[in-house]
């Protein structure tokens, strides 16, 4: 299997399906250190994104799919995650425009663009207990795999694994961005919901490969 337009379509469908099941758990993570709506917000957004993608007759590149996803997320998610995920998908789309099938290098480019977009838009950086802590390691892992000459699929698996590890590693952190930062030290001991949802999204991308 390859990372082509059909994969991108399956990815978004798979992400939407994942989020239905994970909605309550993400809400729960957000309830602990935020306002309890992260699962709700993303679920709403990815159902809309999946709808629009499935209605998209003529896409010939993953970039075209991701562009539709970006605008669906921006116009339906709201909250902090809406503009941030919107930016991530928009940047990934822009950085891979015209590529019908992603190489490991294209994947690394896409994830790096996404990670940089989130950091820029959120005026945030890694270690602040946000989704940066999943996007950043994912981009790094894809770049490393690409540098080591791995296949696109292997690079994607490495990225997803890194995102998962990054999400788990947010638990001890004290948040300094987003709603969780209001809690100060009390934010430690909980996983960041946005980092967790990023890990879920990349895992869905892996599932969509096969």
């Amino acid at each position: 299997m390859t990372l082509d337009t059909a994969w991108a379509r399956r990815w978004i469908a798979e992400a939407a399906a994942t989020l239905v099941g994970e909605r309550d758990r993400l809400n729960g993570l957000d309830r602990a250190i935020g306002d309890g709506d992260h699962g709700e917000n993303l679920d709403r957004g990815f159902q809309a994104a999946a709808d629009r993608v499935s209605g998209l007759a003529d896409a010939t590149t993953p970039a075209e799919v991701l562009k539709v996803v970006a605008s669906a997320l921006i116009s339906t998610v709201g909250g902090a995650a809406g503009p941030l995920y919107g930016t991530a998908f928009a940047r990934a789309s822009r950085a891979t425009a015209g590529e019908p099938e992603w190489s490991a290098e294209t994947l690394a480019t896409a994830l790096t663009a996404a990670a940089e977009g989130v950091a820029e838009r959120g005026k945030s950086t890694r270690g602040e207990k946000t989704m940066n802590d999943a996007w950043g390691p994912a981009a790094d892992a894809a770049s490393a795999a690409s540098g080591a000459g791995e296949s696109a699929e292997k690079a994607l698996v490495a990225a997803a694994d890194a995102a998962r590890a990054g999400a788990e590693a947010t638990e001890p952190l004290v948040a300094t961005k987003g709603r969780a930062s209001y809690l100060g030290d009390r934010s430690a001991g909980h996983r960041d919901p946005g980092a967790e949802s990023t890990a879920l999204l990349l895992a869905a991308a892996v599932t969509a490969v096969s």
Binding site: N27, R31, G34, D35, G36, D37, E40, N41, R44, I74, S75, T76, V77, G78, G79, A80, A81, G82, P83, L84, R121, G122, T176, K177, G178, R179, S181, Y182, L183, G184, R186
Partner: protein, 337 residues
């Protein structure tokens, strides 16, 4: 969870529909969005004021749409910022050509979505200025956090900037009045109980029968510290101290005091708390020149309250006293008339 609702996922839409119907003399819907505008918008020759944010804080913001205050309010889902699209639509629907001031509570989600909306509105030919409200002293500054939150002080920004717009100030001047209010207003809140977001169905945090949560925001998020329950006088002191530490109001100076309920606290308790706050200000020789007590900037059915102090100056006082006619705040003229 027991609420007077139908489908928990349709709460905001149904509530806005009921609101529009009950207040049809004052407000109307923006296109097919959930945004609300003055029925007579755009008001020729007037700078327009637009605010919005997650729902669940009623009457903020839609309840403050009307003459002398907001031209439009854009509600998001419960406790979640609206997306840019309805913000842009609302801005276009109220712009008379003199520009639109966005009054944005300082939350990452609101900031990002209103930022995007401002860019898109400018593309449509609407001149936009934005003012961030960040009055909550419970939050440490932006070195450590996303910056202080916007809470009940938002109401004062909307009222006073609204009066400036109504008297004909241009966009820059209205924004400047709004920023002056922001620089002189501070708040701090307490929760006696959590609230339940309809689609979540469970309380946003758990508080034992003998605990209260100090320094809460308005989204059901936990606060600065959980402490054993205290009486109103002690709570008043706890809320006031950090405000006055930050605001530096000198003896003999004049303030506006807003005691705001979080939604589930009866008015009688808010008046009682106002008395406690007033006694503490008396001790310090600070003069309570204006006051407002009620459930204005809420967190669903949360029990609790916040105290807001605005350091007045003669211009702010005059603008506060100007007439206003909205669903949730009506003033006929100067205080005391």
């Amino acid at each position: 969870m027991k609420k007077l609702i139908n489908d928990p996922h349709n709460v905001v839409a149904e509530s806005i529909a009921g609101f529009l119907r009950a207040e049809s003399g004052r407000v109307a819907r923006v296109g097919d969005t959930l945004a609300v505008r003055r029925v007579d918008a755009p008001v020729q020759g007037k700078v327009a004021l637009l605010s919005g944010g997650g729902s669940g804080h009623e009457p903020l913001h839609a309840g403050f749409v009307g003459r002398g205050m907001l031209d439009a309010a854009v509600p998001g889902p419960v406790f979640t910022s609206p997306t840019p699209d309805p913000i842009v639509a609302a801005a276009q629907s109220v712009d008379s050509g003199r520009g639109v001031l966005f009054i944005v509570k300082n939350y990452t989600g609101d900031v990002l979505n209103f930022e995007t909306a401002a860019e898109l509105a400018e593309l449509e030919g609407v001149t936009v200025e934005s003012v961030l409200v960040d009055d909550d002293v419970a939050v440490r500054d932006s070195l450590y956090t996303a910056g202080r939150r916007g809470v009940a002080g938002t109401l004062l920004v909307e009222k006073i900037a609204g009066a400036a717009a109504e008297r004909g100030d241009d966009l820059e001047a209205v924004a400047s009045v709004a920023r002056t209010v922001v620089s002189r207003v501070r708040s701090m809140g307490v929760a006696l109980s959590a609230c339940t977001v309809p689609h979540a169905g469970v309380p946003s945090f758990d508080l034992a029968d003998d605990e209260i949560e100090i320094g809460i925001g308005i989204h059901g998020e936990p606060g600065r510290a959980r402490i054993p329950a205290e009486d109103a006088d002690h709570i008043a002191a706890r809320l006031l101290a950090p405000i006055l530490e930050d605001l530096e109001v000198a003896k003999g100076e004049r303030v506006l005091v807003l005691v705001n309920g979080m939604g589930g606290t009866p008015l009688s308790e808010l008046h009682l708390l106002f008395g406690s706050v007033a006694a503490l200000l008396d001790e310090r020789g600070i003069i309570i020149d204006r006051s407002l007590v009620g459930n204005y900037v809420t967190a669903l059915e949360m029990q609790g309250a916040s105290v807001t102090i605005l350091h007045l100056d003669p211009e702010l006082t005059e603008l506060w006293d100007a007439p206003v006619d909205t669903p949730a705040l009506v003033r006929r003229g100067p205080h005391g008339e």
